[in-house]
């Protein structure tokens, strides 16, 4: 197929390709199509074992309303927003500052510090689990939204700093240099010269971090207990236990959990992909 452009292939080949791509996509997304069809079924379908066939009845609105009426789903959903939005703001802000320092200033510790942020971002969560949980219990942050925000913000700072530092490093250094000659204060250079230039990076990071934190399950299980602070990922799991074999409701809840990151991705697609592939194209 590659690298010959399809336009240069024979007419039959082109048609074959154009037919095959949607079929391949359909097979690829079969799991999602199945869960969507399940989410609009009636309970009767599930009970009679008609799980993959054509639905007897379409109950899209009904099922989605039922999830919110009969469970804590709306609280979980709200918690996810309360956890994710502040995390994105804090970690991106910290990383802008740190990334600026590591990219612009020449000092000995710059590279080792940079590598510590990078390495920290790769460590397995389990090595942090016991101490972080313990710290949260001791400071009264266990089972609170704030506790999750602080941890996520700190952890994501590693990745964000890696990202911002590489982005700022690629900016023309002359801009900073000439501002310095003019006698502009260091912080003002950051604020008025560099920050306006890093907006695309901030956008890319924000959507990525939003998705990572929204989809987090591990810390949601480790740092929360009750309903009051559980985000939607942990909530969906709880619902799976609560609505045993009421798959139409569980799948509706699962799809609800997927909506915000998916919407974010489609709205900011270019930024999202630029964020993920940073470094792959250098």
């Amino acid at each position: 197929m590659f690298p010959t452009p399809i336009e240069k292939r024979s007419h039959n080949r082109q048609i074959l390709y154009k037919v095959f791509v949607p079929i391949a996509l359909l097979i690829w997304l079969l799991p999602l199509i199945a869960i969507f069809l399940t989410s609009i079924r009636s309970a009767a379908d599930i009970n009679t074992g008609n799980v993959f066939g054509w639905p007897n009845e379409f109950q899209m609105v009904q099922n989605y309303i039922d999830v919110f009426r009969n469970s804590q789903a709306s609280i979980y959903f709200l918690n996810s927003i309360k956890i994710t939005v502040p995390t994105v703001i804090i970690s991106v802000a910290l990383a802008c500052l740190a990334g600026y320092a590591l990219a612009i200033y020449r000092f000995r510790a710059a590279l080792p510090l940079f590598f510590i942020f990078v390495a920290g971002n790769f460590v397995p969560f389990q090595i942090l689990m016991v101490p972080v949980r313990d710290l949260s219990v001791k400071t009264g942050l266990y089972d609170t939204v704030t506790g999750l925000v602080l941890f996520h913000a700190a952890f994501q700072t590693g990745f964000c700093t890696l990202f911002m530092r590489n982005f700022i490093k690629a900016l023309p250094f002359d801009l900073v240099e000439s501002a310095r000659i003019e006698g502009v204060d260091e912080f003002k250079i950051f604020w008025f010269v560099v920050l306006p230039l890093v907006r695309p990076a901030v956008a890319a990071l924000s959507v990525l971090i939003f998705t990572f934190v929204w989809n987090d399950f591990f810390w949601a299980t480790v740092l929360t207990q009750g309903e009051a602070s559980k985000p939607i990922t942990a909530g969906v799991r709880a619902l799976n236990g609560q609505f045993v074999s009421q798959w139409h409701l569980v799948s509706a809840a699962s799809l609800m959990a997927a909506v915000p990151p998916v919407a974010m991705f489609f709205l900011m697609q270019r930024h999202f992909i630029a964020g993920l592939t940073l470094g792959a194209v250098k």
Binding site: L97, V123, M129, N215
Partner: protein, 299 residues
């Protein structure tokens, strides 16, 4: 005199400035990431239930671990994950090559192929749990279509890990695909033309002209796949909780189970598992950093 004073003031401000910019991130990162690594190492020498007073027991946790069968099952499964998860890299390349064309609606197709990566692994795990259900799932339907008795993939200790890895590959292939698609965007047309003049086509074109230029994408794909494999937790927690009888356990879930689930709050023992997992990961992290360091020195 006063101008040199001003200059030296400015120089000292410039020396101080990076530390002021760095301080907030460093403080956060130290409290929640750096310090806990060392604390966990320390805890691994204690017997501790998380509430009472920790008791120093030296390397006893590690001694117990060496004799714990569950540890070896987890280690073996981690290895399986590492090897089989790597399939996401060539599979992602394959999908990317397949989609690297300009037909009407291609942008839409590409983003739809990426879809599985955007949704939570919790949701992916739930979907596949239903798929694998021998009574209701699509696997059951397929087997019955051929008149066979469907296997219970998640209930069979010989199949369960493969079943979970297959589910995990779905979003991971999407991830690798997007890395390769971006890489393919930047492949130089001149070199393709030059390769073509030299008679390179098909496989030889891919091997000698395209792949070398995709090296950065490949490197990143391998990094994220290794880390994804070793971090695998969500899928296992959702699909099997390590079962049946611990046969789908991996170190990350085994650690969690030991320290925080109904099996008892053994924080010290759990920490010793975490330390082992950390050192396995550190082996890979060091290699990645080394490659990054080479890049830094060059560029």
């Amino acid at each position: 005199m006063s101008s040199t004073k001003a200059a030296s003031q400015r120089a000292s401000r410039q020396r101080m400035a990076p530390w002021i910019f760095l301080a907030p991130a460093m403080i956060f990162f130290t409290i929640y990431v750096i310090a806990p690594i060392f604390q966990s190492m320390l805890y691994s020498f204690y017997a501790w239930d998380g509430i009472g007073v920790p008791e120093w027991i030296g390397v006893a946790n590690y001694g117990e671990l060496i004799e714990d069968e569950r540890f070896y099952i987890s280690l073996k499964n981690n290895l399986l994950w590492l090897i089989l998860y790597m399939l996401a890299v060539p599979a992602g390349l394959f999908v990317a090559l397949f989609l690297n064309q300009n037909i009407w609606g291609m942008r839409f197709y590409k983003s739809m192929f990426f879809f599985p990566f955007v949704i939570s692994q919790v949701v992916v795990g739930l979907i596949f749990t239903w798929f694998y259900n021998p009574n209701y799932g699509i696997i059951g339907e397929i087997w019955q279509f051929f008149g066979a008795t469907p296997p219970s993939i998640l209930g069979d200790e010989n199949l369960v890990t493969y079943g979970i890895i297959a589910a995990g590959l779905w979003p991971q292939i999407a991830y690798c695909m997007i890395l390769y698609l971006t890489g393919l965007n930047n492949v130089s047309a001149d070199q393709i033309e030059a390769g073509r003049l030299d008679g390179a086509r098909g496989w030889r074109m891919l091997r000698y002209v395209i792949l070398p230029q995709l090296w950065p994408a490949t490197f990143l794909a391998v990094v994220v796949t290794v880390i994804g494999a070793l971090r695998s937790f969500d899928m296992i927690a959702i699909m099997t909780q390590g079962g049946p009888w611990g046969s789908s356990n991996v170190l990350s879930y085994f650690m969690y189970e030991t320290a925080l689930s109904e099996y008892g709050f053994r924080m010290g023992y759990g920490s010793s598992i975490a330390v082992i997992l950390f050192f396995i990961m550190l082996f890979f992290i060091s290699y990645f950093l080394w490659v990054m360091y080479q890049d830094e020195r060059r560029g």
